[in-house]
Symmetry: D2
Subunit: 182 residues, 4 copies
């Protein structure tokens, strides 16, 4: 079983990139799990515009991203919360991906995570972000995890400082893998 | 009272541009109402990236758009529905606008419309799109209007063919104006 | 694989009871599928009140319903839409069920349906109703089906008059079964 | 301007009853504001059932509650969060109220609060509970307030122990009154 990990933000020092890297490490420790990681910054897409689609067509970056998703059996995405909901940047990626003839997100199991500097840990985006994926036919895992206080949550190596938090992430990754492996 | 109208899509022949133009015409017929219209295609912004904000800074297009919103007393936005929710393109505009020191959307009355070629008239995006605006502090009007079958709804002059639909839009615009004028 | 079917409404002539009965018939035709049906009217519960829980305790009807859910491998629920969202009646049942020591809804696959006399077929409740189930840990199937114009949709035997609609329901039931059987 | 305050729970020692009482005290201190308070326990309604409506009719408690709401210019409701969303008990009250010929909630300004023993302060119910009210035409204020750790938040007199929290509530009440008074 191969799982692809990425964050819904572009920023180099993104908390969500760190968070999803920790999730990847937890998954890598599970026997039989292969992991892949990508940075959305390497897949630049303009804001969706029907005139681009009708003219130059679907961006190459979309096709490459779709192929990487296609090659995975499951996804783990960590997303920031912008204005209580899904970042335009991430939703734009979903919108472009949904225009391909074969939609890579369809029927794919997905685990959603969110890291936020605030006290609520991105709980609003977790619930908002489920919708477009589920409309496409992605199987979004009911369990999710928000990380509050993300600015102070990681050490210099990018590891979660708090043991309980690390354990919670590890347990969730294991539940996700267990459910979809059987 | 000055109302600014725009659509949440970029496409030249966008149904939502037609729909919001009809809304503008309805508003223009009300005594004491001044209207403004803009096309988001004239305000190009890259997908939000914290490194852009920290480097080159907030895009000029965002500042210009913010100023136009600031100059209006109320907004009417017609949005397409992509994957059952807000277009990344429109959410990205909101995300950038929310980064300005003075957030133009705060406390602004907003009427949401949606046009869709499908049978449901974009009802899902209407409810999804309220959230980021309300998080910012925009006063989203409870009444909204979705237009199903948008591909066949307009005549060559861009007018709504169906009289009842045109009347419904007209009534809603009048209710919105009435509520915020007093 | 045993699937339990019920509607989220109490009314004797409920469109959703008819709709879920049609779903049950479609499932019964699948080899290896056993079905169960219940009427929430036979499981009367007062509106949730912490003082009832602390005093007389969880209602007998809740316990009986929980046991029936427990005995099933999957659920199909058809719900009406009240005020654009989940009926208080159905949410109340969920709230009571969630107070049991072993929560019968946890990890249970669920297919959501909605029938509505209106044109939108209950699409808003479908998306609203997912949330409490997913918070509990129910695996809500991404595919759902809303039935518009429910008042005229059934013949005297309670069968869907429109063949395409019946086929859509049948296909969805088969997809749901297929996904969870393997 | 007369504001009616109530909680979305029935429990005698409900955190939300305490929270909404604090909100009432804050409002009472504003010049020109008259307040009313009610306990939903005094307005018992069965779970909504179309057969009850068609037979005995809308419950007396619904009519009395509707009249109290009608007599107020604005509402403040504090709601618990059950399973990440609106309590069935509160939604049921909304469902019954929406069946009256004149719907008391229509066009009424509403401020939503939530108290929860957990760390997230009921933020999910705040966003979920907006929907049915807005569908009815209630003007739900964009600003809302969730109170985390509610079990330890009040002193013996039912006052908020933390000064900053009390100030936040007071500021929000003042903003709500200010917006709707002018």
């Amino acid at each position: 079983m191969k799982i692809l990990f990425f964050a819904g933000s572009l920023r180099k020092d993104s908390y969500n990139k760190k968070f999803v890297r920790e999730a990847q490490r937890a998954a890598s420790a599970i026997k039989g799990i292969e992991t892949d990681f990508l940075d959305l910054k390497d897949f630049p897409m303009p804001p969706y515009d029907g005139d681009i689609e009708d003219g130059p067509g679907i961006p190459e970056a979309t096709k490459k991203l779709g192929a990487r998703i296609m090659a995975a059996d499951a996804l783990v995405i960590a997303t920031p919360e912008y204005n209580g909901s899904i970042p335009g940047t991430l939703k734009n990626v979903i919108d472009w991906l949904s225009r391909e003839d074969t939609v890579s997100l369809e029927n794919k199991p997905l685990l959603l995570l969110a890291a936020s500097p605030g006290a609520l840990g991105g709980v609003r985006v977790l619930w908002q972000a489920r919708v477009p994926f589920e409309v496409i036919g992605t199987h979004v895992f009911p369990g999710m995890m928000g990380l509050p206080g993300a600015a102070a949550a990681f050490d210099d190596q990018g590891h979660l400082k708090d043991e309980k938090t690390a354990k919670r992430l590890n347990d969730l990754i294991n539940q996700f893998v267990e459910y979809h492996r059987t």
